[in-house]
Structures are given as structure tokens and as C-alpha cells.
């Protein structure tokens, strides 16, 4: 609990408690990797079990998925710029890029919700087949993470506005940055193994 402060480090790493929070969050991300790996393996077992229902090729509109992908990957870039601005101690720049990140994330979510509505209209619900159960739960878990991330980030933005850049708010921003990049990495796997592989199978 001692407050050993090292000012030569970036703001978020200066205090011992904040360093521990960041390490704890890395370990949490390890658990998240296991969580998504399990969902991917479930999908890997069930992805050809269409049970007479629609297949990948009947459903996927690759253009929309491409737009989603670009939105989310760009948001990862803007998140990186936001953290860069934070390191330059530029609160205004941080907030600008941070909010842009969330807007891109919200755009991604909007597209994904529309995609799901489209599938349901096509008669492809998660009750239709084992393939669709695993498909919806894998994507839905990722989407729920993005939603949660947006709510969480909004809370952090309010704190940044109220308190400015302190070791604590910097740590919180940095951690949500890690979370956001992680969701991007997961999406790359979803894009590759669910959408692209689904189209060539």
C-alpha cells in the first residue's frame, strides 16, 4: 500500500497501486483470451451443423462485414493515438481521439445489430441450428464486450473531464485502451475464422 512514486515513468505507472491494477488487468485479459478461445472451439465443433437451416453463404453480406471491420480496426488506431496524446499530457487531444474511438465503436455496434436483425428476418435465429447458436453467442459475446466498453469508457471520460489527467485517471484510460485493443484482436479472429472461412467453406 506504500505510495512509492516514480516520476520518470509514464503517469499511469507512477504509483505502485496503479502498476498493480495494470498487471491485474493484463491477467484478466488472459482469462478473456481463454473465454473467447473456448467460444471459438465451440464454434469450431458446431460450425457445419446447419441442421437444414441457412448456411454461411446464405447469410453473410461481406460488404457490411468489411465496413464493420474497418470501423473497428480504425477505432483501435484512434485509441492508440488517444493514449499517445495522453503520454504527451494533452488532455484535449486525448479526449478528442477517445470520443472518436467510441463513435467508431458505436458505428460498429449499430452495423452489428442491423446485421443480426437482418439474419433474424432471413429466418436465422439462434434457435435454428447448432451452427447459428454458436455463431450468435460468439459474436454476441464480442458485441456485448464492445457495448460494455463504450459504457465504461463514457464513465472514464466523465472522470477525465472532472479531474483532468492524474495518475488514477491516466491508469483508467490506459486500461480501457488495453481492453479496446483486445476486442479488436478478437474481431480479427472472428472476421477470419467465422466470416472469411465461412464464405470459402
Amino acid at each position: 500500500m506504500s505510495a512509492s512514486v516514480n516520476t520518470s515513468l509514464p503517469l499511469e505507472y507512477q504509483k505502485e497501486q496503479d502498476r498493480m491494477n495494470i498487471l491485474g488487468f493484463w491477467i484478466f485479459l488472459g482469462a478473456e483470451i481463454v473465454l473467447f478461445a473456448t467460444l471459438f472451439s465451440v464454434y469450431g465443433v458446431l460450425y457445419e451443423r446447419y441442421a437444414g437451416g441457412p448456411t454461411h453463404k446464405d447469410l453473410i453480406v461481406i460488404k457490411d462485414v468489411m465496413i464493420q471491420t474497418i470501423l473497428l480496426l480504425t477505432s483501435s488506431f484512434t485509441m492508440g493515438v488517444a493514449i499517445f496524446e495522453m503520454r504527451r499530457n494533452n488532455l484535449k487531444g486525448l479526449l478528442t481521439w477517445f470520443i472518436l474511438t467510441l463513435l467508431l465503436g458505436a458505428g460498429f455496434l449499430f452495423m452489428e445489430v442491423n446485421e443480426f436483425i437482418h439474419y433474424v428476418h432471413e429466418g436465422a435465429t439462434m434457435q435454428t441450428s447448432a451452427f447459428l447458436s454458436s455463431f450468435f453467442v460468439l459474436l454476441g459475446t464480442h458485441g456485448a464486450h464492445v457495448t460494455f466498453g463504450i459504457i465504461w469508457a463514457s464513465v472514464v471520460i466523465i472522470q477525465l473531464l472532472r479531474r483532468g489527467l492524474t495518475p488514477v485517471t491516466a491508469r483508467k484510460t490506459f486500461i480501457i485502451g488495453l481492453y479496446w485493443h483486445f476486442l479488436d484482436v478478437v474481431w480479427i479472429f472472428i472476421f477470419t475464422f467465422v466470416y472469411l472461412k465461412g464464405l470459402v467453406s
Binding site: I27, R49, Q127, F131
Partner: protein, 658 residues
């Protein structure tokens, strides 16, 4: 959302009616008692809102003892039902429910919290820290475990118990074959408790990696700290699998998906795989900390440094890695073919190697030691042969081809009770006798402890030894009765008698706690066992800031070294500085209530209410994010006062009974 009010309370069974009345009376009694003694405020400020790792640990242990009682009652009911052929004491449905809750409660709500409780009490002290890395998260972990445990426990009086076994195999556990809400309890309650466990794992990894006191390198850590570190790593690697499995089960049961169903392409064996991908590491999650406890107890009471410390560490790491590679041995009969079964046979047998290393290390620690036959040591001594029987029968079961013969028989049941009771229950008893003075400032009675020990160990062997032979003769597990012609009756009766002796042992343990609270000598040394590790370098019971001055470590068995070289035992007034401590918080308890309510609504499939309740959870998280309470400082005067009360005039550790 149609609420069927008449199905909420379980009616029609005299045993359950009796329990309902008993639960109601107990609750009224507890509330009346606390009100009469005017203890509500004390309960709230000192315990419910506490973030002190020692108190959280004690709460875990109290909960675990209660759950031990509940799980034990389930076990006794099963033994009563099978004591004679064709008994009519329980019907088959009731028997199914009881073996399910027995398994779940004993593993997840007895063994885990018992060990996590001891970790909480001991680990920060052993590594010379003032708390865990995230004290409030630690409180949340406890309260989520408690929320899940309570939700699971009310199932048998409200709505109906899960009845598909503690493994809840599909398709039986699915909506198609178990249409009631009982198995919803399994899916939801374990999910809530599991989130708490995952956070405990993260918390202890960070605590051990970042908060060790000066000089305590990883290779100077006590063995219990090592096993806790590796256990936490297994928790982080394995629990998310269970999270997903339970979530998919919830989707299947509540929202009609087809992960594990027989129809629409689902795969029932996918559940078995996911369950054991978590379930087998889970065995080591409960076994490794227990091994750590035995290592501490054996080293202390043999008055020697642990033999083969390094090989112990490598063995734990080896066990942890192998634990992830053996899950298929739980269902060789799935029919995955000779190659797959052979692979898993070999990995399973490999686990016997590091485990054997550990057993020999314990034996060599005792060799030429000046062994003190305290109760804690007795449990460790009884552990070695009993656990070895469990281990050797485990190797028998590991042989894929032979397993077809043993599968689903009482041989298997006897095997895992021989692993888990000596491996976990003996360990927590050893740990309790050993650390009780550290937690409460007085010892458990050694004489009553002997009754506890002998009744329990004899009862355990009489209960489970016959089951090996019953199993080899073909008695299947989870069968609520058997015929006279089967010839099983004498051994079943013997086993039932054993369970009564076992229960008497547990009663002696409870009596020991009662006796010691009332009559035990409070004037004891802070180091009554002449022990070797840092938790004994401070007062008993431990003051809330743990150490006035953080100790400096120069070797393995740090406190032993300090005593031998007379270093670091004194405390000068000039060395005392202000100590920063975290503040109490009511939020973890409120989250416990919120999770409990949401869970309850989900169990009954009242989705709108559950969604509203979930908003409460989100509100709690947001509140936490805005909470900038930075803790408080303890003043030097207060520390001086506290330290004076347990040290002698020279500021030395008060080592001898006055």
C-alpha cells in the same frame, strides 16, 4: 413471463417441510439474537463491509463449515437410503437431487472456500504484506461466492434442486429431459460464484508477484504461497471455460439454443468436454493449496526445512501443466478411439510422477526430524497413506482399456473420495488446527481434537474402503437402491456405519470449536508452534495492519532464520511510521444482493425482472468507478499502543507464555 406461484415452494415431502420449518426458525432466531444483543451495527461495520483479508478469510471459513454441514447431511441421507436393499427412505428423484447437491456443495462451496479462506488469512502474512493487491475486489469475490452459494442452497426448498449430477451431463441436464427449474439453479448459481473465484485468482497472482516484502524472492516463498500462486494461475486458465460452459447451458435451457441438445445439430459430448476441461484443473485447484498446507505443517512439526524445496516447486508447476491435458480420462467410454484414449492414459499416469515426488519429499522432511505429534501433524500423517490409496487407484482408473470396467461404478466414487477427503479435508483440518491461534489468539483443544481426528479418519476409511469392493463387484454409482440378490448389502451397511462415525468426527470438530471459544486459554504466545514462516512474526490475533514494520527476509523459512540469528524481532519506536490502509466498503455486499436477486429471477426465467436487476449491477459498477476513496492512515501513536500490548518491554516478539 407467467409466474406460477404454486410451484415456488416445494411441498409434499416431510423431510423438506421439516427443513423449511427449520430454516425459517433458524433465520428468525438469528435475526432475533442479533437484535437482542444489539449487534447489527457491529456486524455491518466490522464484518460485512470489511476489506481486511483476515476477516474475509474467516468469513470464507465460516461459510465453508456451514456448507460442510449441508453437504455432509446430503451424504448421510444417501448412506441411509443405501444402508439396506430396497430401502424406501428416499425416492429416486429425491436421491438424484441429493447426490447432485452433495457433489456441487462439497467441491464448490466447501472445499474451495475453505482453501480460499485459509489463503486469505495466511498468504499476505506469509509474504510480509499488509493486505492483498485489491482489497475491495477481494471482498467482492467473497460476497459473490456467498451469493452463489446461498442461491444454490435455497433450491431444495424453493423451486426444486438440480438433479442431473454434479457434472450435469447433457442431454439429461437439458430442458428436454429436465424441464423443471432445478438445473437453472446449477447454471446460474455456479456462474455467480465462479466470477468471484476468477477474481480471487487474479487478486492472488498480483498479490504474490508484486507485494512480497523486501528480500523475499520467489524461491524464498513458503510452499503454501507457491501453491497459492500456481493455483491462482490454474483458476485464471480454467474458470473462463466453466463460465462459457455454464453460459451455453443457460442459453440452451432458457433461450432454446442448440449447443448440447440432441436435436438441430447440438453435441451433448461437447458439454462433457467443456465441463472436464475446467473440472479436471479444478481438482488441482483444490488439491495444490492443500499440498501447500501439508508442506507447512510437516516442516514445522518435523522441525526441519522442507526437503527438496526446488523439486516441490517444479512438481507443482508440472502438475499444473499436466492438469490441463487429462480431461478426456473422465469419459474414456465416449468412444474416441484407442489413440486418443491412450494419449490421455499416458498424460494421466504422468501426473503420478510429480505427485510422487511430493509424497517422497514430505516423507524425507519427516526423516530424522524431531516430530511433534500435534493435531495438525496427525492430519498430515494420516493424509500420506490415505491419499496414496487414492492415487494408486487413480492410476488404475487412468488405464483407458481397464476403465471401461470401472466406469460409473462405486470404485470411482471411492477413488475420488480417497483423493479429495485426505487431499483437501484433512488439509483444511490440519490448516485450521495450525493457524487457529493466528486467527483468533487461542488454540483449538488438542484432546477433543484427538477425538475429532480418530473418529473422522476411521469413519472415512470404513465409509469408503467398502465402496472399492462394491464397485469392483459391479455396484453402479448414483443408483438409489439395490436388490437383496445382488449381495451388496453387507458392504453397503458397513459403509453406512462408517458414515455415522465420520459424522461423529465432524460433531467432535464442531464441539471443539465451541469448547475452545468458551474455555481455551487466551494467554498464549504469538508463536505457539515455534514455527518457521512470517505469519508467526506478528501478534495473534493479527492486528489489522499485519506488520508494524515490514519484515526483511534473508533466507527460506524467514521467521526461523530471524529467531536463530536474533534479527528483526525487535521494534524501536523510531521505526514506526504511518501506515496506509484501505477503507471499508458496503458495495461488495450490495453487489452480492444484486447478483442474488438477478440470479433468482433468471432461475425462474422471469427475464424482464432479471434485466431490471442487472441494471442494479451496472449501477454498482459505475458507482465503484466514481469512488475515489483512497483509504486512510493509521497514526503512529495508535500503532505504538497496539504493538506495546503484545510485545515485551524491549519491543521483542513476545515468544513465551508468561
Amino acid at each position: 413471463m407467467d409466474i406460477r406461484w404454486n410451484e415456488i415452494l416445494i411441498t409434499g415431502d416431510p423431510l423438506i417441510l421439516g427443513s423449511q420449518i427449520a430454516i425459517l426458525l433458524t433465520m428468525i432466531g438469528v435475526v432475533a439474537g442479533i437484535t437482542y444483543l444489539k449487534k447489527w451495527k457491529w456486524l455491518w461495520t466490522e464484518w460485512i463491509t470489511t476489506v481486511d483479508h483476515k476477516r474475509i478469510g474467516i468469513m470464507y471459513i465460516i461459510a465453508a463449515v456451514l456448507m460442510f454441514f449441508r453437504g455432509g447431511m446430503d451424504g448421510l441421507l444417501m448412506k441411509a437410503q443405501t444402508s439396506r436393499p430396497e430401502m424406501g427412505f428416499l425416492d429416486s428423484q429425491h436421491y438424484n437431487e441429493i447426490f447432485t447437491t452433495h457433489g456441487v456443495i462439497m467441491i464448490l462451496f466447501m472445499a474451495m472456500p475453505f482453501l480460499i479462506g485459509l489463503m486469505n488469512v495466511v498468504i499476505p502474512l506469509q509474504i510480509g504484506a499488509r493486505d492483498v493487491a485489491f482489497p475491495q475486489l477481494n471482498a467482492l469475490s467473497f460476497w459473490l461466492f456467498f451469493s452463489g452459494a446461498m442461491l444454490f442452497n435455497i433450491s431444495f426448498v424453493i423451486g426444486g434442486s438440480p438433479d442431473a449430477g454434479w457434472t450435469s451431463y447433457f442431454p439429461l441436464a437439458g430442458k428436454e429431459f429436465s424441464p423443471g427449474i432445478g438445473n437453472n439453479y446449477y447454471a446460474v448459481a455456479l456462474q455467480i460464484a465462479g466470477i468471484g473465484t476468477l477474481m480471487t485468482g487474479i487478486n492472488f497472482i498480483v498479490t504474490i508477484l508484486k507485494m512480497r516484502t523486501k528480500g523475499m524472492t520467489l524461491m524464498r516463498m513458503p510452499m503454501f504461497a507457491w501453491t497459492t500462486l500456481i493455483t491462482s494461475a490454474i483458476i485464471v486458465a480454467a474458470f473462463p471455460i466453466f463460465t462459457v460452459a455454464l453460459a451455453l447451458m443457460t442459453f440452451d435451457r432458457l433461450y432454446g439454443t442448440h449447443f448440447f441438445t440432441l436435436s438441430a445439430g447440438g453435441s451433448d459430448m461437447l458439454w462433457a468436454n467443456l465441463f472436464w476441461l475446467w473440472g479436471h484443473p479444478e481438482v488441482y485447484i483444490v488439491a495444490l493449496p492443500a499440498f501447500g498446507i501439508f508442506s507447512e505443517v510437516i516442516a514445522t512439526f518435523s522441525r526441519k526445512t522442507l526437503y527438496g524445496y526446488k523439486s516441490m516447486v517444479y512438481a507443482i508447476v508440472g502438475i499444473a501443466l499436466l492438469s490441463m491435458l487429462v480431461w478426456v480420462h473422465h469419459f474414456y467410454t465416449m468412444g474416441s478411439g484407442a489413440l486418443v484414449n491412450s494419449f490421455f492414459s499416458i498424460t494421466t499416469m504422468l501426473i503420478a510422477v510429480p505427485t510422487g515426488v511430493k509424497v517422497f519429499n514430505w516423507l524425507f522432511t519427516m526423516r530424522k526430524g524431531r516430530i511433534k505429534m500435534t493435531n495438525a501433524m496427525l492430519w498430515a500423517l494420516a493424509f500420506v497413506p490415505c491419499f496414496t490409496i487414492g492415487g494408486v487407484t487413480g492410476v488404475m482408473l487412468a488405464m483407458g482399456a481397464a476403465d471401461y470396467q470401472y466406469h460409473n461404478t462405486l470404485f470411482l466414487v471411492a477413488h475420488f473420495h480417497y483423493v479429495l477427503i485426505p487431499g483437501v479435508v484433512f488439509a483444511v483440518f490440519a490448516g485450521l488446527y495450525y493457524w487457529w491461534p493466528k486467527m483468533f489468539g487461542y488454540m483449538l483443544n488438542e484432546k477433543i481434537g484427538k477425538w475429532h481426528f480418530w473418529l473422522f479418519v476411521i469413519g472415512f476409511n470404513v465409509t469408503f474402503m467398502p465402496m472399492f469392493f462394491l464397485g469392483l463387484n459391479g455396484a453402479v454409482r448414483r443408483a438409489y437402491t439395490f436388490s437383496e440378490e445382488s449381495g451388496f448389502a453387507p458392504l453397503f451397511l458397513l459403509s453406512a456405519i462408517g458414515s455415522v462415525i465420520l459424522a461423529l468426527g465432524f460433531a467432535a470438530f464442531c464441539y471443539n470449536i465451541y469448547w475452545s471459544i468458551r474455555y481455551a486459554d487466551r494467554n498464549i504466545s504469538s508463536d505457539p508452534w515455534d514455527a518457521r514462516t512470517l505469519e508467526w512474526a506478528t501478534a495473534s490475533p493479527v492486528q489489522h495492519y499485519n506488520f508494524a514494520k515490514l519484515p526483511e527476509v534473508k533466507s527460506l523459512d524467514a521467521f526461523w532464520y530471524m529467531k536463530k540469528n536474533n534479527e528483526g524481532l525487535t521494534l524501536k519506536d523510531s521505526e514506526i511510521e504511518e501506515i496506509h490502509m484501505p477503507s471499508n466498503s458496503g458495495l461488495p455486499f450490495i453487489m452480492c444482493v444484486a447478483f442474488g436477486i438477478v440470479g433468482f429471477f433468471l432461475v425462474f426465467e422471469w427475464h424482464i425482472l432479471a434485466a431490471i436487476g442487472a441494471l442494479g449491477i451496472v449501477a454498482g459498477l459505475i458507482y465503484r468507478s466514481f469512488d475515489y476513496n483512497d483509504g486512510y492512515h493509521i497514526h503512529v501513536d495508535e500503532i505504538k499502543e497496539t504493538e506495546k500490548s503484545w510485545r515485551n518491554v524491549e519491543g521483542e516478539v513476545h515468544n513465551h507464555v508468561s
